[in-house]
Amino acid sequence: MAYSEKVLDHYENPRNVGSFSKDEINVGTGMVGAPACGDVMRLQIKVGDGGVIEDAVFKTYGCGSAIASSSLLTEWVKGKTLDEARAIKNTEIAEELALPPVKIHCSVLAEDAINAAVEDYMQKRS
């Protein structure tokens, strides 16, 4: 399979790889996917005062497109409010990375991951 240059770039130089302590009150963690399906994404956001995402990290088990989708997402969500982050659509990720149809599910997974991370943060706060 031929990968787009952007996928290759994110795959070879993934941005914001890492973990936050998930017990911290200002951290939201979203883990989506399943090993059985061949991809698992863990996206974490650190939310500052005023509900702005200050930092984001990820770890992904999956194909190159899954790794690139989550790497790109960490770049995009930084500096966004929770609502803005939740408004990111998988189609935008797929378009930016020029994902082929068979890899669209990787971008869907990334969208699920940010939603799950925001949800987790909100639950901790409530």
Partner: protein
Amino acid sequence: MSEKHPIYLDYSATTPVDKRVADKMCSYLTLDGVFGNPASRSHAFGWDAEAAVEEARKQVAALVGANPKEIVFTSGATESDNLAIKGVAHFYRKSGKHIVTCKTEHKAVLDTCRQLEREGYEVTYLDPEQNGLLDLGKLEDALRDDTILVSIMHVNNEIGVIQDIAAIGEICRSRKILFHVDAAQSPGKVSINLDELKVDLMSFSAHKVYGPKGVGALYVQRKPRVRLEAQMHGGGHERGMRSGTLATHQIVGMGEAFRIASEEMEEENKRILSLRNRLWEGLKDMEEVYVNGDIDQRIPGNINISFNFVEGESLLMALKDLAISSGSACTSASLEPSYVLRALGRNDELAHSSIRFSIGRFTTEQDIDYTIDHVRTAVNKLRELSPLWDMYKDGIDLDSIEWAAH
């Protein structure tokens, strides 16, 4: 270090044509060569081509201990499998409609069996044991009075394990059930003596043995005689079992490839086995790596390894300097992990994490050392990226988590 990149380690998929084979094939194509139709009986062009085909038939038969009259040339192992299984099923339909095979067979066998199911036949798909080998007791239990055919592969294409076809042949013969063996992966790697084996039909391929693609053969035993219903009709070539003008240059190439294998396989397999051992020695101290399939009952050139917590397709991407294949079919549209590894009872993570390395005639020690180095680096890099690896390191049992399958 090898100058040529990527390094080819996918000899189970196909092999380059040996230079000696290619040179010989070239003299059966052009005006100054032997280009005649082997079926032409009225002139020397035909006679010469026929002589070349018969020489090749002898060479193929010699490698596998068969009589040349028992060799039917086809377009490849897939056609041979189709001809054997459908041919027997159709010819012997009055004796019964039950066929026994195994879940780890090649698609050429499995899909042919599926077609026969649509035609009203009944097929039992046996589960192999965890090492990829069949429990012969279970095979025996699956046989019925209306079983007409057992089809079991000799060497598995993904995991390289060798089934005990001698023992299976004894079981089938004692029950008067025909036995077909898909041996696409075995010539030149495992010695085969059809004179002794109780095998009725055996499929061969040329391009796995440094011969050309597009040609193969089916061994059809003469004593006791096995009958087949032809699947390709026409001029009655190959004693009516497979019509179609014989592809002289392809057949000559297959013959030459099998001749070379007869002469060189002993030495070659020693060398290839030492390369495979070198590869495994260089990787086995890594954490959470597993060999898929029995390590001893296996051809020298194959090793299939799962690197736990690393997804196969991303690993292939990191190893772009290596021409290898993932057991996981992620690169195809199905996104399903290998059905062979699943049939072995490997869990999904391990099935998704597998890489098949297949070593052959032109692999060097330098190739292997480069491979070891690159695989270690890539696996470590991807594990740093893997949430599953994190969880494993934290002592979390992945099976205890409720994953949202998607």
